[in-house]
């Protein structure tokens, strides 16, 4: 089965009919890679449909339940973009079959000019880079005003400038900026390491009752990001913002043993009653014997410096670790 039958015809389509022999009952992952549009029917049922006759290089995947035995299939392939060759690959993968390509090599030959990855290294000084971040790798939870801070020691984090929050941290290499810088790009980067995400929304909130939540959405009239200054001695950023009249400066740095990321938050100005920091959020929060807290099924731990006492509260079906604050500096560690 191959799109080579279409040669380089611009506006064209082909219909492929055949039998698919499924070895066992089970779930199969179907992948259709194509230029142009493609529709897959098995047993006369439409199972996949990518209605884009103009698409560049699309890839669609679907998990399908199939019974053992022979199944008639039909694939419609159609394309109207003259600047691309006809290309179609059908790849199937399941418990009983290894990943195998059902189309001929020439139907979807390897890209002769694949993109080179663009990794962002960290030199002898911290490397700062702004980009979009997909929280928990979820495109629907894209953070738009984030900055990655790569530390020469190898402990990196991403700060959400519109929430005054550390969105995630990891160890290893810094970020892969290919999604942002290759071709048109989509404006985002990806941490290069096992990434510990925290929570979305503000760290700072004014909580006067159990029903008051920490702001999840940016409100221009309340929250004003002021950017950051570069600390001369360390090359690290000092983040600045104000929230409802509270002036905030925050420094983040790895602990000396590189075990944790320390957040040092300085509050100035008039601090309204009920001002709190949210230190963690998760399905559960468990106090540990050493005074720290295990967050969200022990994915990470929060340890407060000094005598400050954080408490656990229920909010919107989740647990939150909160700390009442007044003017001054609060320091705590994210350990993972």
């Amino acid at each position: 089965m191959t799109t080579e039958v279409l040669e380089l015809e611009d506006v064209s389509g082909a219909r492929f009919d055949g039998m698919l022999n499924v070895p066992d009952d089970g779930e199969y992952l179907m992948t259709l890679n194509s230029t142009g549009g493609v529709k897959l029917l098995i047993d006369n049922q439409e199972l996949m449909n990518n209605e884009r006759p103009d698409s560049w290089w699309d890839s669609k995947q679907s998990n399908l339940q199939l019974k053992a035995g022979a199944h008639p299939f039909t694939i419609y392939y159609y394309k109207d973009a003259g600047y691309m060759p006809p290309r179609l690959a059908w790849i199937i993968e399941g418990s009983a079959i290894q990943r195998s390509t059902l189309t001929a090599f020439g139907s979807y030959p390897p890209n002769p000019n694949p993109s080179s990855s663009i990794y962002v290294p960290v030199g002898s000084k911290p490397r700062l880079l702004r980009a979009f971040l997909d929280f928990n790798r979820d495109r629907s939870r894209r953070l738009t005003h984030t900055i990655g801070v790569g530390d020469p020691g190898g402990l990196h984090y991403i700060y959400d400038l519109k929430a005054g929050n550390v969105a995630c941290a990891w160890r290893g290499d810094f970020v892969d900026a290919t999604p942002m810088w290759d071709d048109r790009g989509d404006g985002s980067f990806r941490p290069m390491g096992v990434t510990q995400f925290t929570y979305m929304g503000q760290t700072l909130g004014i909580i006067n009752s159990a029903s008051d939540g920490f702001p999840a959405d940016y409100k221009e009239e309340d929250f004003k990001t002021k950017g950051y200054a570069i600390e001369e001695a360390t090359g690290r950023p000092i983040f600045r913002y104000s929230y409802k009249g509270i002036e905030v400066e925050e420094r983040c740095y790895p602990s000396l043993d590189q075990n944790s990321l320390v957040r040092e938050i300085a509050l100035n100005g008039t601090i309204p009653a009920g001002t709190h920091l949210k230190l963690g959020e998760g399905k559960d929060i468990i106090p540990m014997p050493d005074g720290s807290f295990a967050i969200d099924e022990r994915k990470y731990y929060i340890a407060l410096a000094g005598d400050a006492k954080a408490s656990i509260r229920d909010f919107n079906g989740k647990k939150e670790l909160v700390l009442p604050v007044s003017a001054g500096i609060v320091k705590y560690s994210i350990i993972w």
Partner: protein, 621 residues
Amino acid sequence: MKYFIQTGLILSGLCIIQLLASFSWAAPNPPAKTPTEDDYYKIVTLPTPEGMLLEVGGMTTLQDGRIAICTRRGDVYLVENPDMANDAPPRFKLFASGLHEPLGLAYKDNALFAAQRGELTKLKDTNGDDVADVYETVYAWPISGHYHEYSYGPKFAPDGSMFVTGNVAFGDQEWWRGESRVFGRGWTMRITPDGKMEPWATGMRSPCGLGMIDGELFYDDNQGDYMGSGAIFHLKKGAFTGHPAGLVWTDKIPNSPVKLTADQFNAVVDPRKVKNGTGGYNKPENIDNEPNANTLFAIKSKLPEVTLPAVWLPHGILGISNSEIIPDQTNGAFGPFAGQVFVGDQGQSRIMRVVMEKVKGEYQGVAFDFRSGFQSGILRMTWGHDGSLYVGETNRGWGSAGNTTSGLQRLAWTGKVPMEMKTVRAMPDGFEIEFTLPVDKASAENLASYGGKNFIYKFHPVYGSPPINDSPLNIKGAKVSEDGLKVRLLIDNIKQYYLHEIKVDGVKSRDGLPVLHPTAYYTLNNIPDGAKLSMSEVSTKRAMQRRLKTADAESKSPQAKKAKESRQNNSAYLRQSATPAGQMDLFGLPQYHYPAGRAFFYRYCQAQVQQRTYCCFNPQA
């Protein structure tokens, strides 16, 4: 000046030899070699340090003559010695880094300002080591995270406030339709240095080019949905320039200067949201031979907030993806076009020249081709202290005629004055063309030296428009001024709101030079009042000229051959694109009218593009 006089003498000498050698009808003969752009404006490529990728997004000149550049990779460099004085290479200093795809840079009060995707940022060096140590957010705007949501600017207004613009996003299923998912997309914002934002204007789709001309804000957009062709707009507060995406906010924000709502707009201009039967919509395509097609000026009569383009930049001819707008502030150091405006283009790696005049209180004017041959897509331009124009380039995934991905070049005037139309002015009964050099009277009084047509673009939710309603100009007479610098053309079918293509292929300078760029495009939004010419004042002579020898020679040159081949390739490509999609119906698949659409784009848009670029997918662009 001395240099110029000498050159002039040499050229005249050559002409005499030519005269003796041939007996053409035209009195003066051109020099042996027809001059090219390169004889007048040289492109000099700045050497950049190895490994440095300068995908230029913003560019400005510092007080001390250094050029500041910001790149897509988020770096800001200061370039010392950009004109390579004493043949020394320019020196690059990394001033700032880590910005989010900044697409603009401005300098004021010892600080640099850049529009990142989501904010306007002030970069300050507080300890004098030429490295920014404060990245201060002047104002942050929302953004949804769509790839196309670029932000451009700032440009400083005389009062110290700044203008930034925001690209639209595109729909998910309706991937062709510009959307304003959050406020600011499709808008121009005015931001004060202390961080107050005022919504200024909307109707933008891809407002990559901003320009401050005599203290007034201008911007350009390029072909796309609701944008028949690229154009330059004068942006007064409250302007609406045609793309409806931003209108969804006019009744949601408290201080919108535009009152028109999306519903009111859609009631006048059908958004053509036709359901495709599977929960989505079909992509609207151009309707061939459409009766009573909408135009932007016709819409303006119903929706007075519409702002018409001051100058259309016909798509595929004068650019396909317009960028920086920069007035010539060199007082002549850059040649004979002081006070005029240059406009960059990304896709065609080209610079256009624009001259505007105010007629009946509104800006309108003329556009010419100026210089092509840059190595990548032109995004930004700034004047150097040496009087040359620095050009920052990238094609970042869109493709451009210049096929490198980035570039930093300098355009320098050689001191020779090209034979050009210096400007074209609207007259009550035609146009007045002013030339840079006196014309040869015989060629200028001959009506066969002139040609042209007028046409307009459709206004519809379709990507781009073919030119419509075109008709040849009826040129009835020509009057040449005493000094030979001006020609008044009497035309009896000029049309308000239309683009007027005016061709002067047969006009020669007194030294026998043809006009370097012999086509002008004048946008005639208003026809001035005043005295009309009488037939007794004008020449009505019409004599066909014999082909000039140099023209033949030129067509045999390797470049001309290459251009011809490329045109042929393009037309072959068009024929291929136009193959009917009959088979698709057999499958019972949804109807896409794309092939016809594609074909007309290339037919109408790409004829002038020497290298095939994907103009239709050029939203940044």
